[in-house]
């Protein structure tokens, strides 16, 4: 529990050594930005993966020469497959028109050939349909004479999953780097602060302060440095995120299928708590050997 005296001494120390503390907070913010950016990427990739893992749809692309009778028979057969809740025919022209609406104003459409938009049956798949059942059904569909290919977005989901795993690994690595940075920056700062406040420590010990009493404000200062570093990093990331989202929002949402989102509040709070705890621990570790009086 922090006493009024400890809090006041910590505040007084931070105010009087504000330049040193500000430099330390800035250094920590840079380290936390790296970790926060990685977590931000992981958060959005994970959301995209979730979105595509439960896309609830599949596209059955039809061969160019498929007749209307073949299509009708196929649609009737597909709607009887357990897990398939609906089937909608999209002609080649409809597909081109839909693409044109989504990417209005882009010149790319004119350059695409007729085979770029094959006719398809768009299936609505129950979100709880097991992957094994869907894979089995797809294998059977591919054997049908009118079917050219089937897209279930599973490969896309798997690629995203690989990316998320890579992002998580990178975040873990960055967390270790941040840990080392916090220990080094806060440790060095507190040793420097201790050196500058050597007389204060000496006086405290001469009037009967215990080591814990002497250390407490320094530990609080280290914790505040770490927490402020994390807060600064989150604020910086938020500004960058808003700038990037303003430019890429619609294209990214259309491509990936999800709106880009910022770090969840739990992750942001976790970073601040992590910063505070690491800062306090680093400070405590660097002050083990106090001025001997």
């Amino acid at each position: 529990m922090l006493s009024v005296t400890t809090t006041r001494r910590a505040k007084r120390g931070m105010v009087r050594e504000w330049r040193l503390h500000a430099l330390s907070v800035f250094s920590l913010a840079v380290a936390f930005v790296c970790l926060g950016a990685a977590l931000l990427v992981v958060t959005n990739l994970s959301a995209a993966q979730d979105r595509w893992a439960h896309a609830g749809r599949a596209s059955v692309y039809l061969k160019e020469g498929a007749s209307q009778d073949d299509v009708d028979a196929l649609r009737a057969a597909l709607t009887r497959v357990p897990g398939v809740t609906g089937a909608r025919y999209v002609s080649s022209g409809d597909a081109r028109a839909e693409f044109g609406r989504e990417f209005a104003g882009h010149d790319a459409l004119a350059g695409l050939g007729a085979d770029a938009f094959p006719a398809s049956l768009e299936l609505d798949v129950a979100p709880d349909m097991p992957d094994a059942d869907l894979t089995d059904a797809v294998a059977k569909m591919k054997l049908l004479p009118a079917v050219d290919d089937v897209e279930t977005y599973q490969s896309w989901t798997e690629r995203l999953a690989r990316l998320v795993r890579g992002g998580v690994a990178a975040s873990a690595l960055l967390a270790v780097v941040v840990l080392a940075a916090v220990l080094a920056v806060v440790g060095s700062t507190m040793r420097l602060v201790l050196q500058r406040r050597r007389m204060e420590v000496e006086v405290l010990k001469l009037v009967g302060a215990t080591d814990a009493f002497v250390r407490k404000p320094f530990v609080v200062e280290g914790g505040v440095q770490g927490a402020l570093g994390a807060v600064g990093a989150i604020a910086l990331l938020a500004v960058l995120f808003l700038m990037v989202r303003g430019r890429l929002d619609s294209e990214l949402a259309a491509l990936v299928g999800v709106e880009p989102s910022f770090l969840p509040w739990q992750v942001a709070c976790g970073m601040v708590v992590l910063g505070g705890v690491l800062g306090a621990a680093a400070s405590l570790a660097s002050l083990r050997r106090l001025v001997a009086v």
């Binding site: 009967g208 302060a209 215990t210």
Partner: protein, 262 residues
Amino acid sequence: MPRSELAERFRPMLRGAGARFSREAAQRPILVFEDVYKSYEQGAPVLRGMTLVIERGEFVFVTGPSGSGKSTLLRLLYRAETVDDGRILFLGRDVARLRADAVPFLRRNLGIVFQDFKLVPSWTASENVAVALEVLGLPPRLIRARVGEALERVGLSGRGDALAAVLSGGEQQRVAVARAIVGEPALILADEPTGNLDPQLAIDVLGLFEEIHEGGTTVVFATHDRTLLEVRPRRVVVLDDGKAIDVPNGVASDEYDNRLPL
């Protein structure tokens, strides 16, 4: 820190042979040095078998040439150093045998004043005095009141908000004295407190210590300034060749001139 915890860590010995309170034990000398040895270099002891007894309420000058061990004697007492051999009994407890974590509680029973003042220059006079009470965990309101009283006693009322760095040497030493007395310790140790002051200020500061002593506090005043010893007849302890030579009636007495080569 609550007083009860203080009592756990450094408790004056107030009991006799049994477990009950003993008036006789409570009236023992406040400070006893018994055959104390201390050396910083092998073969060159600063104190060699020094023995000294100081009663409660005494004002004692400790003097001797530079390097005679005046500061060492005080440093042993507030446990900045440890004895090589012998015992130092303060309030009946052997200071030399205290555990390291009990040392802060010993120091709360002492007021220490130094030649170089040992003030934090970026703190105000009040903050420098208050620190001695903050370590005790007293409430801020009580601290403010007692700090004000202490500054008034040393003639610095109204200077509490001034930074220590802007005070004159005499004022800084007064702040240091206020810090030493604010906790109402049993014993005040002054290690050359007038060493950095001009002669008139030195006598003023000595007067301050005498006022404190008149209130019943025991004062051990280390100095090599003979003029201070002559201001009033006080008990003088001369450190010579690592031993204490007691001159109970001060420098004006015949025994002082006969026995001491100062």
